[in-house]
Subunit: 117 residues, 10 copies
């Protein structure tokens, strides 16, 4: 049970690969570090996708999101990176990743990235 953060996303077989359906995973438990000030940032991450041959194993998704905890990451960049990593691991029919960040400088920011565009 001493689990570790990991960038490995574990794909598992889609039990119904012949049908296009939607899976959505969201969590308020995402934190990384501002590359300019070194201070923590916090976001809710939402991953919505139509799986291809693979779906994501939930525990590996949790460890993957944990792996950003000490990484410096700009809002726009990390959202694109999460999408790219998930697309590489799962090859989904389509996927949208949205990040919704707690207020900085009085401004609330969200970023939404989709594949394919």
């Amino acid at each position: 049970m001493p689990s570790q953060p990991s960038r490995e996303l574990t794909p598992i077989d889609n039990p119904h690969p012949g049908r296009n359906y939607e899976v959505t995973c969201d969590t308020p438990e995402f934190t990384c570090v501002c590359p300019m000030t070194g201070q923590p940032d916090f976001a809710t991450v939402t991953i919505a996708y139509v799986p291809g041959l693979k779906i994501v194993e939930l525990k590996s998704l949790k460890l993957y999101l944990w792996s950003f905890r000490n990484e410096g990451a700009f809002h726009e960049d990390v959202t694109n990176q999460i999408l790219n990593d998930l697309v590489a691991a799962l090859d989904p029919v389509s996927m949208t990743v949205t990040t919704d960040w707690l207020v900085r400088g009085g401004i609330h920011t969200t970023v939404k990235v989709s594949h394919p565009q």
Copy 2:
């Protein structure tokens, strides 16, 4: 009144088969068992459909959902199975089944499956 869980879905005649209209049934009273840990999972199930010649009898729907109580079921798989069983029983013009699961590992998951795609 000593009713039993049952996989039998009772179709009854659609009283207005000549018109396409929408029926939605939702319930927070769905529970099954995680196939990996054996622990209970909980979901809200929403069934939205345009009936063909048959609509579903509500009591049989209740007993059908009850029948998953002690079954091991992955989120994605059981949602597809519920859709498949209802489509087989009712032959609807169209149907969407959505499951919305309580948090596991800090992640909230929903699955949405439609027929026809």
Copy 3:
């Protein structure tokens, strides 16, 4: 003022018949009786329409909905019947009737019927 429930829907002249516009009437004050158990059911009824030459007089609509109070009615059937009666009385350009029923057997049901389809 001793008004009575009535199936008569009073059409009145649309004051702006040359323009398509939308009227929506909704009320949580609908009750009828379950045809199988004889027990009361309760619903919110929403009627949205684009009038033709006639609009519905509100008091007659109230008495019309009251008239179901002691009638046995399945959810799907009564929603279609309300739509049919209103279409017959008003000949609208279009109309949608939605019923949203209080929970029975742990299941919450809505029915939505439109004219023309």
Copy 4:
């Protein structure tokens, strides 16, 4: 299953009579008739009590509330009557009955009655 409305409230033994604890039952499914106009009224009824030696059996409570469906009843009067009937049947340590009525004449009314005062 052909149940009937009934003024009989069935008391059942309190399984923990030696401890003061609170039970609250609420339902939006209450309707009666305005004694002046004969038109239907609708209310949400909330019953909160500390039981004595008896608690109320839920099905009998449902049939009891149903029994007002065709009765003429002023808001203030019927709320007191429900309290009196429940106190007579259960002899609770304390009880509060609240009724919350749908709008009449643009005015929203609630009535709250307690025993003992």
Copy 5:
């Protein structure tokens, strides 16, 4: 049915005068005129009371509140006046009148007056 605004509040007999209980009437349909600018003001009025020998007849309450429609009235003054009129008509055990006014000059105001203090 051609009713008129009226300052007459009609008391009717409290059906349960031997018990202290609470009645609350609230309505968003109150409007009067600003004594300084002549422009309309709007408020939600809430009347909560423990009746003595009399309760207020709802239609007369509606006509009473209507009677302020063309009257100039400061927020603090009219709230006190409504309380005074109701206390004079009903002689309640206790009563609180609250007015909640739509925004003027960017400021939202409420006034709450009780009898006895």
Copy 6:
């Protein structure tokens, strides 16, 4: 400052006439009189439009809406009239007027009218 209700709507120059953009004005401060009973009605009015060469001056809009205070007006009719008056004064690219009325006879009504259709 002794302003008066007025049917005059003051158009002012659109500061960006070369671009289609949306302006929405809404207010809960609309009241008129029921033509059948003489009793007050209350509504929230929402005006959404894409301006042409003119936008509406807000104070004149306020005085315009005030001018209905003592007018008898059916829900459907007055909504059309407000749209017609605003279209005549502003010649917008498009406009939608929605009125959302407080409950009468247990029924909540909204009316939505657009130009052009």
Copy 7:
């Protein structure tokens, strides 16, 4: 990780036994069986307490609540039983257990039990 439901509640040492403070644990993941019909019931359970020398280990609390999954239990009885078991295991300064049950027969029920009374 193949955990099992268990009635064993694991007490662990209160890290600040010299101070009265409040801990609240709530979960919507409680289900048991109606002793009369055999059908599943669902509730949200809230446990609020001021610990004495012990606090409850969260995993054991989860397994404890799981242990009711196939047990027949009346609403009032099971709430008292949960309180009794927790008081026996933890000997808290004070504790309140509340259960909030999904609708049965159109009626929503909550039960709230405290120790000491």
Copy 8:
């Protein structure tokens, strides 16, 4: 109409000085400047009081709050200052001033000051 910000609070006669009642004024339109960074801060201000012989004139209250727009002010200090100024101008029976500030550094702050303590 070219009004100016002003620290003058205009007291006007309480129309019902013989009775203790509550007036509450709140507005989200308060802004001042951080004394350390010179950057704007924003707050909702709520003033609740039981008037003595005087109530506050609303327009003067608006101009008073406006007067802080270019002033440097710590959260705790300005809240006390507003209370002190209002108490000096009105001599109320009692008063509470609450400020609720938009997030700074990820932290949301409120300050609540009362007279008398």
Copy 9:
């Protein structure tokens, strides 16, 4: 750290210029001055855009919005101006600016401007 309001918007390189994705920034911290009365106005500003080669640096956006604090600005005009300035600085694929203003004269106004139209 003694920052100053500034009309300079700092563009920074889009880390993923080859993909169309959406960024949304919103803040309730916008205030300017009414050009007719000199009194403060308050709005929430929302900026949603698909970046081209540049994204906006958040601190410069904050200082930019601050720069309107003492400027006279009509609702419709300032919304267009903010869009124009951001489009000039960032050359986005598309952008929508929405302003949502606190109530003036009882009327709540929003303005929504997009590029390209």
Copy 10:
């Protein structure tokens, strides 16, 4: 600006030490590590206090809460520790610290600690 997490809480002089008033600071930006699994936990922290001679400087409070980011901490223990540290630094008249934790094992936990008890 390269700030660092720090356990140092900076007290600053209370500008109104002669009056008891309440300050509340809350933030959803708290994270620490589960001492048993090493996995991140997340909480909203609320600090409400009546200051004595000192109030807390907000930036130091932010850095203080940040300092728990990589620390192992049980829910009950860390809440007591935060209270103890703040009481040691500020010597407040009274203080309550509440932590509200994201779901673990299906259970939502809050802890509330006060000084003096």
